[in-house]
Symmetry: C2
Subunit: 337 residues, 2 copies
């Protein structure tokens, strides 16, 4: 089995096969995929030693994932991984806890693995130029921006939804269905991060619709997005005796935990209480009832993050910011009252 | 900031800090974690150039994940990633489709990334010695064995649960609760893989308890574990008019889709139909009702896979096979009839 056999089987030239095997960008996606699948099907293993000799740089891209057990991020890693490989890079994946410092983790990874670039999958919204000084390669903030920080827009790239606006739309959906007493289950409201932004979107939707915020309808869940915390928070809310007809949860898994806590205490969803989330996971489509939620465009966010990073690495393109839209996925967890 | 500052802050010697930074195994986990967290907290970035000069090999371990969107594998990747890093290796993660050839993908990755070893996360159960000839480094089959193949036990390592026995236990649980008409939703029954093994466990549990198998109670879902397929399979089962009081699903996400299909057609779980799964995901703990399932020891499986692989790489240890036990997680999705 030689490179000529592959070229013949694909109906392309030997040099095209070579370009694909060496990850050159100037091959159409179509041809690239045809060659790759033929290589796999025929079991051809390229001899890379010559290529490795002329390579002077690593082809590593670091992906620092903040917050373990985040189903939304699991989907995202899958997409990002495919895109990184498709472009001929190697993904170096690094998981950190939700309280860990992603910048420092990224900087250490950069030195240890000679990274060409970094995708931060989740992170703080309040960087300063000093915070980021240890990072010496291009990077993209995936799922967040620096809206609470002091970074210049020209100094970082981001791909995200508008968390404030998405939360606003979720709560507006409930208000339009007649809900006036809307509770919120939020990890934190002053974390200068995703949770604060979404909480603010909730507050704004209430205000713009002439509804007063009732602090008894807020369940803070110790700064974390884990399902047991969201469950406990909802349980306390119910036990407090506060009246509400709907709950806004800041993520799909949290919304599933909210529904569970309600049902376990004899409140049917949506008959007795409506629930809405943010994310759009497959698994929440199969909850009982199907969760009504704001869907984040996971594939697009992952694809664009890698594309922007590759542009910064290969063509020295300037930093850029991409805002993608979340859309409502109607389900059975909300009702008109 | 020098290595001396780190040593002082941790109350250990400079050589201990150096050993941690260079990933030597002879440091207790406790000390290792203390040093690492101090390094991160103080923002110390080690100068690796000297180390890199003396390194002659890559430290890459490949993890080939078969089947996208598998929540069970997402948890496992997280654990495996932590263990690989803890031992000073770099994880090279590669996702392939559930119909792709993991051995060929692993062999190509091995050449391209100069892997030291491979963990196959999911794969076929029917390798022959020829199938595996392209792989030239130690490897561990994580979550499966070669029980349908012709490999010698001495030629591969594995970490898995007993799929046949676990399915047997799940179905036995239903039988002990009085169920006689037990349906099964299975991706395939002749795939010489995980699905066939679990299906056989189901059949054996019926037989050993004097229950006849009724082919009308089998829903095959086109060879795949995706939730929409399990949902459709269950829907067809219900529409066929076949009578059953319980369903055995081969995974947790499939069991959640089964519950959804039942509820959508007016059958309450567990009042009208019991449902049991295999996996033990967090998310199925928060389904309505909580899924009764056989829990796989994810953390242990991930940890042991890396440990066995490291032993094979570093100490030339012989291949070995580890069978771990799944245990019943009682939930609200089954009832006595």
């Amino acid at each position: 089995m030689t490179i000529k056999d592959i070229a013949k089987a694909c109906g392309v030239s030997v040099s095209t096969v070579s370009r694909v095997l060496n990850d050159h960008p100037d091959v159409s996606r179509d041809v690239r995929e045809r060659v790759r699948s033929t290589v796999e099907r025929l079991g051809y293993i390229p001899n890379n030693s010559a290529r490795d000799l002329v390579r002077t740089q690593s082809d590593n891209i670091g992906v620092v994932v903040r917050g373990r057990d985040n189903l939304f991020f699991s989907d995202m890693v899958n997409t990002i991984s495919r895109e990184i490989e498709r472009r001929g890079y190697t993904m170096v994946l690094h998981f950190i806890g939700s309280d860990d410092d992603e910048v420092m983790a990224g900087a250490i990874l950069e030195r240890e693995k000679k990274l060409r670039g970094i995708i931060f999958l989740g992170g703080r919204f309040d960087y300063s130029p000093v915070t980021l000084s240890p990072v010496g390669v291009p990077f993209v903030c995936c799922t967040y921006t620096n809206c609470f920080g002091s970074l210049d827009e020209k100094d970082y790239s981001s791909v995200s939804i508008d968390d404030y606006e998405t939360a606003f739309q979720a709560v507006k959906t409930l208000i339009e269905l007649g809900h006036r007493r809307i509770a919120v289950v939020a990890p934190a409201i002053h974390d200068r991060s995703i949770s604060e932004l979404r909480y603010k979107g909730y507050r704004a939707a209430l205000e713009q619709n002439g509804l007063e915020f009732d602090p008894r309808l807020l369940a803070e869940t110790e700064g974390c997005f884990e399902m047991p915390k969201a469950y406990e928070g909802t349980a306390k809310l119910i036990e407090s005796g506060a009246e509400f007809t709907a709950v806004f949860a800041l993520s799909d898994t949290n919304a599933m935990a909210v529904m569970k806590a309600l049902e376990d205490r004899g409140r049917r969803v949506p008959e007795d209480c409506s629930v809405i989330g943010i994310d759009g996971l497959t698994v929440s489509e199969y909850s009982n009832p199907t969760l009504t939620t704001m869907v984040q465009p996971v594939e697009e966010m992952g694809r664009q993050s890698v594309s922007i990073l590759a542009g910064m690495i290969e063509q020295k393109q300037p930093c850029c910011h991409l805002r993608l839209e979340a859309r409502l996925r109607p389900g059975g967890s909300v009702r008109k009252i």
